[in-house]
């Protein structure tokens, strides 16, 4: 599970709970100028995720860490796919973040409203 908040023109993502041990990253801070948008996307977990490095993919349990797909570097932190959102970035280490959040619609609204 990840929690998100907007502070000082930045999107701050904090990995919470014991699951954060899988990701090697517990906090990501991204300038809003580098955030392109956010989308509720429960279907992404069953799509091809690419090659993990370094990351963990235990089917049915957790997808966490860094995955490489078509030249994109994607950060995953998802246990419950039904609560997955995608945050698209530009000019950042990661092309994309795939995060499990408590309330996907609220999280997407938070990001989209901060960009407007």
């Amino acid at each position: 599970m990840a929690s998100m908040r907007i502070t000082d023109g930045h999107l701050e993502v904090v990995m919470e709970g014991l699951d954060k041990l899988w990701t090697f990253r517990t906090r990501l801070t991204i300038p809003l100028a580098n955030v392109r948008g956010a989308t509720v996307d429960p279907g992404i977990a069953s799509d091809f995720k690419g090659v993990r490095a370094p990351g963990t993919h235990i089917p049915g349990l957790i997808i966490a860490g860094t995955f490489h797909h078509d030249g994109d570097k994607v950060f995953w932190h998802v246990k419950d796919a039904s609560k997955a959102i995608v945050v698209e970035l530009a000019d950042e280490e990661y092309t994309r973040l795939v995060l499990q959040v408590d309330d996907p619609r609220a999280a997407v609204a938070l990001v989209e409203n901060a960009l407007a």
Binding site: R36, A38, G43, D70, V86, E88, E112
Partner: protein, 176 residues
């Protein structure tokens, strides 16, 4: 040589075609009724490419909405410029494909400022086109647009439009 050049810049998909297909999808099922899975399936574009090109589902939606305004509402404005009377104006509006505009007005305008701006501007343009063509005040034109959209929503364009315009006889250029 031409082939080599074309291969030098590979395009995974035709963006223009994808946006047009998105207009149909969002116009038929609304914003919340279309998942990213639906977009991947119906637009024939990989998830990665969707996010890379449009940033988010909302990003694609905004582009699709603007495309709808350019492709479907703009021609309506041009046609309205030649409307001779209220009946003609009503017929043009009620026979136009305004599905995405109407859904956007109801579903997304209240929660998305950019959508609200596009929808309001488009409807204002329709009002102005009717006002200019018929030589009536803008508020009267706005009432006609509102009636036309209502008739469109009720799904009974011909009969109701005729009944209404029968009482609006003087609302023509010649009559004013």
């Amino acid at each position: 040589m031409r082939t080599v050049l074309a291969m030098g810049r590979p395009r995974a998909f035709d963006e223009d075609e994808v946006v047009r297909a998105a207009v149909g999808l969002f116009g038929g099922r609304a914003y919340d009724g279309v998942s990213v899975d639906d977009l991947v399936t119906h637009l024939g574009v990989h998830r990665n490419s969707l996010y890379k090109t449009f940033g988010s589902k909302r990003g694609l939606y905004l582009i699709a909405l603007r495309r709808h305004l350019a492709d479907d509402v703009r021609p309506l404005l041009d046609a309205l410029a030649d409307a001779k009377d209220a009946e003609g104006a009503l017929r043009l509006v009620t026979s136009a494909d305004l599905r995405l505009l109407l859904l956007a007005a109801i579903e997304r305008s209240p929660v998305d400022e950019e959508v609200a701006f596009e929808v309001t501007s488009a409807l204002d343009s329709v009002d102005r086109a009717i006002a200019d063509a018929l030589g009536v005040p803008t508020d009267v034109a706005t009432a006609l647009t509102a009636a036309a959209l209502g008739i469109l929503l009720r799904g009974n364009p011909d009969k109701v439009a005729t009944a209404l315009t029968r009482h609006l006889g003087p609302l023509t250029r010649k009559g004013t």
